[in-house]
């Protein structure tokens, strides 16, 4: 028997196999005790009980008896047929139905007790070795009792019987109306039994969210908050918040975004199993980048899932073809699944269940939710934020690399992203925007954050063409960023300037070379002149010497001395 022993109290639990419930109850229902499931009409009480018994019988070979007070066994089986539990087969081995409806012709005369029925069921359980029993819609029978005291007595009787029979027992009872409050007449059931589960509902903006609450669980800790649940394609499923955030493997492998230059900006691509948030106004190419991401995944041979909202997969495939992204072939081969979900008029929980089912069925390695903000439309944003958180957790647990796109209002992108509180969950946040100048809207891409990776902090221009996606450098001029035609012009202008500058240098060189040449020529001439002058000077010096020797005897001493005092006057006199 799949049971778990709660450490302190020694409570033994019997797994229900219901999605989410065993998690929030710490292992299932109290083994050998009575649990009561209360809820309004159509809240899924019967499904809760029946699916638990079917799971136990099929998966663990634990036989059970299903006692139906309201519907015939045939009708119950017909209703449950779509869930694929294979009840017809189980009915022959391990799941026994008792039709406990009173015949229509039955007349009531006075009070009664359940003793006889319990004795008979006990005998049946003994013979088939049953471990489980469910009393479905016991309120139908209890309503015939004259007063609350009588009803309470029968529930006591049932509990006493159950203690002796040692069956794990589920009793379901309908509350008076479809509200989340129990009809006062049945509150005693919650007090008397060991475990009480309430199936309620909350309506916000005409969107109904079904909520499961464990009202009490004797001797065991359990989830205290109401948890959304659904009656889905496979039956009952509750979606408790994951108990902790860190239970997944931390990966180091890099995954390409499919855009080479973006990978470079991210310091070598995304890290596998991380979450990337793409924010931006409508038309900023969130879907294009997402499409490229899944295309790249498929090209690597990985399975991928693209979840879009309020748009068909075919439209997305067609639109992406215009930028050279071909998803069609991968979709046909089954490597890519495009899931178009309706988000309007549905609760966020129902949408979440669909997303999770798609992930579980397709086992993708790359997932896109486009846009995540579709979840925020329904109910309140708080709930949508929880769901965003859970999707992230589910993907991280599976090592799935996730892209979330979020539509942001032009006025306040930061407020927009924080409203779903996704920005804190995202490992990488890429913001896309428009820059409008000179009559053009150009797309800009910037990495707001990227955990655990060196990344560029520069804005790039995102250019979409039939050839695909490219990133271009942007020019900044006087504090403004230039893109598109302005960038092209700026690029052209720069080239012109370079050419002009080169010519300018050449001209300058020519001019300088000319000047140098002229100077050199002049220096040459002057050098010649200098030589000539020196020669003249030498001649002059010799002449002066000859003159002084000849006149030495002719002149008196005084004359010589005076000449000696003024030699220049003689020279300059030439």
């Amino acid at each position: 028997m799949a049971i778990r022993r709660a450490a302190a109290k020694g409570i033994v639990k019997a797994a229900t196999g219901l999605r989410g419930f065993d998690e929030m109850s710490g292992g299932g229902l109290p083994c050998g005790r009575v649990s009561v499931v209360i809820g309004g009409a159509g809240s899924g009480k019967t499904i809760f009980a029946l699916q638990t018994l079917a799971n136990a019988a099929r998966d663990r070979g634990e036989p059970g008896i299903f006692v139906a007070f309201e519907e015939s066994a045939d009708k119950i089986m017909a209703n449950a047929a779509s869930f694929g539990w294979n009840l017809q087969r189980l009915a022959n081995r391990g799941l026994f139905f008792i039709d406990a409806r009173l015949p229509v012709e039955a007349v009531q005369s006075g009070g009664f007790e359940l003793t006889g029925m319990l004795a008979s069921i006990g005998e049946r359980a003994r013979l088939m070795g049953a471990r489980w029993v469910a009393f479905d819609a016991i309120d139908v029978l209890l309503d015939l009792l004259p007063d609350a005291t009588a009803r309470r007595r029968e529930i006591s009787r049932l509990q006493e019987w159950n203690e002796r029979s040692n069956l794990t027992c589920i009793v379901t009872a309908r509350t008076g109306e479809a509200s989340s409050r129990m009809a006062p007449a049945y509150t005693y059931m919650a007090y008397m039994t060991d475990c009480a589960i309430q199936l309620g509902r909350r309506e916000t903006d005409s969107i109904v969210t079904r909520l499961l609450t464990i009202l009490k669980y004797r001797g065991s800790p359990h989830a205290e908050n109401s948890v959304p649940y659904l009656i889905g394609a496979r039956g009952f499923a509750a979606y408790p918040m994951p108990a902790f955030t860190g239970g997944y493997k931390v990966l180091r492998q890099r995954v390409s975004t499919g855009v080479a230059r973006l990978d470079t900006l991210l310091g070598g691509g995304l890290i596998r199993g991380t979450v990337t948030l793409l924010t931006g106004e409508p038309g900023t190419a969130k879907t294009t980048l997402s499409g490229r991401f899944v295309e790249a995944a498929c090209q690597r041979g990985e399975r991928a899932l693209y979840v879009c909202f309020d748009e068909s997969g075919a439209e997305i495939v067609r639109n992406l073809t215009s930028v050279g992204i071909e998803l069609g072939p991968y979709q046909q081969s089954g490597r890519l699944r495009i899931e178009g979900l309706v988000s309007r008029a549905r609760s966020s929980d129902a949408v979440f269940a669909d997303i999770l089912a798609a992930i579980e069925e397709n086992r993708p390695r790359a997932v896109v939710l486009d846009p995540l903000s579709a979840l925020g439309k329904q109910g309140n944003d708080m709930n949508a934020a929880d769901i965003a958180f859970r999707i992230v957790q589910e993907c991280k647990l599976r090592g799935v690399t996730l892209y979330l796109t979020s539509l942001l209002s032009e006025s306040d992108p930061v407020a927009g992203s924080t409203s779903l509180r996704v920005s804190t969950l995202a490992d990488t946040w890429i913001h896309l925007s428009y820059l409008v100048r000179s009559g053009e809207r150009n797309r800009a891409i910037a990495i707001v954050k990227s955990r655990g990776k060196a990344h560029s902090n520069q804005v790039r221009e995102l250019v979409l063409s039939s050839a695909g996606i490219t990133l271009e450098n942007v020019y900044s001029e006087e504090g403004e960023v230039l893109m598109g035609t302005m960038r092209t012009q700026r690029e052209a202008g720069a080239a012109e300037k370079r050419r002009y500058a080169t010519q300018e240098v050449a001209r300058e060189r020519e001019r300088l070379e000319g000047a140098v040449g002229q100077l050199a020529a002049r220096i040459g001439e002057q050098r010649i002149e200098l030589k000539a002058r020196r020669r003249e000077l030498a001649v002059n010096a010799r002449t002066a010497e000859d003159t002084s020797l000849r006149n030495l005897q002719e002149r008196d001493n005084t004359s010589i001395l005076r000449l000696a005092d003024h030699p220049e006057s003689k020279k300059s006199g030439k």
């Binding site: 007349v107 009531q108 007790e113």
Partner: protein, 99 residues
């Protein structure tokens, strides 16, 4: 009462569980009703504590349960039979002379 005229002999089966107050009251109430209404009957008492497997055949859910096996149609009365008019009405149901 109308059932006096044909004076049928009822074949009845009473399901009880052990010998608690409900079982005793039901038995006594049946005896009293028959005496007052003056009908004849043949009664089988089934104690489900002793024979639990017998409940399923007659689809007995609660105890006490009284079943009229014949004359047809079958009738079922649940409870301790404290409401005499109800018993008599149920026994007479389907008969031309009844209401």
């Amino acid at each position: 009462m109308s059932i006096r005229d044909p004076r049928p002999r009822y074949r009845l089966r009473l399901y009880i569980a052990g010998s608690g107050p409900y079982a005793n009251r039901a038995k006594q109430n049946l005896v009293d009703a028959a005496a007052e209404a003056g009908f004849d009957y043949e009664l089988e008492v089934v104690d489900l504590i002793a024979e639990p497997q017998r409940a399923l055949g007659d689809r007995v859910v609660v105890t006490p349960t009284l079943i009229k096996l014949s004359p047809l149609p079958r009738a079922m009365v649940i409870g301790d039979l404290s409401d005499r008019d109800k018993i008599l009405a149920a026994l007479a149901a389907g008969r031309g002379a009844g209401q």
